[in-house]
Amino acid sequence: MSEIKTIAQTIDLSVGYSKAGKVLCLFEKLNLTLAAGELVCFMGPNGIGKSSLIRTLAGLQKPLDGNIHIPKEKAVALVLTDKITANHMSVYDLISYGRYPYLNWNISLSEKDHALINEAIALVHIEPLINKRLYELSDGQLQMAMIAKALTQDTTILFLDEPTSHLDLNNRVEIMNTLRELSRTAGKAILVATHELDLALQTADRIWLATHDKKIKEGIPEDLVLDGSFDQVFQFKGFDLKTGKVHHKAYRNISVNLSGEGHEYLWTKNALERAGYEIGKNSQIRIHIKTSGSSTSWSVTSESINQEYNSLAGLLYSLQSISK
């Protein structure tokens, strides 16, 4: 990105609900920006008001106060968490809804509309699905179809609310990668509300982090990790964000000496720590990882034992018998 082109911004925006004189304020005086070609992940704990902010930015809900500057009408496309109940609709029909803002009451799709629909289908790679009915799709495929519908709207801005919840890891990665690619190739500003930290940290260009004082902190993922902002918001219990690992207690009070290289070293360390061993330098139990070609083996030497194992399960089992 040679220059940053801001295409949407908020000025002193307050978000919330007011009913019968009672005001419930979720966010106060937000000054946020969205730029073309960037993928922003909007993070925060569940229930902090991510969906409400997205709805407000999209114009589905009135702000309590302040302004939202978005270029023109028809500039925003949405993927929400709402369930589609009309599940006998065909995928192609669903995607064609994206052209509705441009059509009159007669809703007849032109050649150009069909071209845009097919383009969107190609971008998210769901060509084999277009004649299926929605009830035949998996959750991940349905989400892809919803994204295609939003792309068909041909807008500069795309808001997605929890697009990866209820999906398995593979689908989550695929969706986030697709979004990242779209932001770069199509120059769209994409805002994704999510509470899935690992994916956001690895894909987002920038993070909006909802804090507990009704503000949103902006920054690139790594800065927010290092300055501890994430720890403050999420208040991790037993998870160390800076190493990206769950914290394990070395409850066995046994230290082992580990030598080896590469992925094998990392995963062996993971297995040992998870099982409650401490990795230390000065220990009588020594584990060495040998790799030759595609096979890996572990040799254990101590006072009482000198043996080789070809799985980590076997290794852990024998360590258990030593420690008794």
């Binding site: 589905l60 009408e73 589609i84 009309a86 006998h88 009451w105 009830y135």
Partner: protein, 327 residues
């Protein structure tokens, strides 16, 4: 489907307590006087056309309500219009008759029942539109509609309880539904109202399609929710109100036809669905009217008994066969 429709229409015109041979029917239509002319032109044709208009109108009303509320159990009567009409008719029949003076005048007038049914559904209609402007979501509107029906129905029960036996009979006959007593003048009124309702429905195709995705997505696609809901309610009100006024509260057609049609027409586009349900509704009501005339008998069954007797098993069978019901 239009072939089935034509067949049923012709069959409905030709059969009855007196069967009319097709050649005689054609010459009657050409204006040649035959012994069947009067039956054909004054009774059979208006009856068949009423079936078509009422069936088409109720089915369209049902489709609109099912789409607006995204609820497969919604029908044109969920807004409480039929119950409003029943209440007004009950008031006129029970109180008007026992009173003297203006009440008596009302009852002796052949238009009085149609008139009071229109007033009744019209009042409920205005009430529902006012509420629709106020409540924000469709589910609330649905529940309020059901509550309004509950209140009016219980008022009707009270009236029935205190009413005289002969009035009760007049009222019961009205509630059984009737397509056979419409004159050409009444048909013209019915046609104009039903035509307006269907035009409103067809012009709302875009917003109806959008409602299928839910309120948020519809709004995201640029649909003005309040405005579109207003027109859909107006359309349904016209369709249901007119039919109830002239034919009584015909049950079942509005609820069942959209489901039956959806099993045959695999579309979610209302530009296709609306003409399909009109055709389907007209066909179903023609079929039911055919069946009210027991073969080889002069006895005529009440229409409402037949619509449910025929329709309900068909819907159950269709659902079991396709293992799902959908909006």
């Amino acid at each position: 489907m239009s072939f089935i429709f034509l067949f049923l229409f012709v069959a409905d015109v030709l059969t009855g307590s007196v069967s009319i041979p097709i050649r005689e029917a054609l010459s009657s239509l050409k204006g040649e006087p035959t012994i069947f002319s009067d039956i054909l032109l004054q009774f059979r044709l208006p009856k068949a056309i009423t079936c078509v208009l009422a069936g088409g109108a109720l089915a369209t009303g049902g489709l609109l309500m099912q789409t607006l509320f995204r609820n497969p159990l919604a029908g044109p009567d969920v807004l409480g219009l039929s119950s409003g009409a029943s209440l007004m008719v009950a008031i006129v029949v029970f109180i008007g008759q026992s009173g003297k003076g203006p009440g008596l005048m009302l009852v002796n007038n052949p238009w009085s029942i149609a008139f009071s049914a229109s007033i009744g559904s019209g009042l409920i209609f205005i009430l529902i539109i006012a509420i629709a402007q106020y409540v924000r979501d469709n589910t609330s509107l649905l529940i309020i509609g059901l509550m309004v029906s509950a209140v009016t129905s219980s008022l009707v029960s009270v009236l029935q309880f205190i009413g005289r036996a002969e009035d009760l009979q007049t009222f019961m006959i009205w509630t059984l539904g009737n397509v056979g007593s419409t004159s050409w003048n009444e048909l013209l009124v019915l046609f104009i109202v039903v035509f307006s309702g269907i035009t409103i429905a067809y012009l709302s195709s875009k917003s109806l399609n959008s409602w299928l995705l839910g309120e948020n997505y519809a709004q995201g696609l640029g649909i003005r929710l309040a405005q579109s809901r207003f027109w859909i309610v107006i359309g349904t009100g016209l369709l249901t109100g007119a039919v109830t006024a002239f034919c009584g509260p015909i049950a079942f057609v509005g609820l069942a036809v959209p489901h039956l049609v959806r099993l045959v027409v695999p579309s979610t586009n209302h530009k296709i669905l609306i003409p399909s349900v009109i055709c389907g509704g007209a066909s179903l009501l023609l079929l039911c009217d055919l069946l009210t005339q027991l073969p080889g008998s002069t006895q005529i069954l009440p229409l409402n008994a037949v619509t449910s007797l025929v329709g309900a098993p068909v819907v159950i069978w269709m659902i079991i066969k396709s293992k799902r019901i959908r909006v």
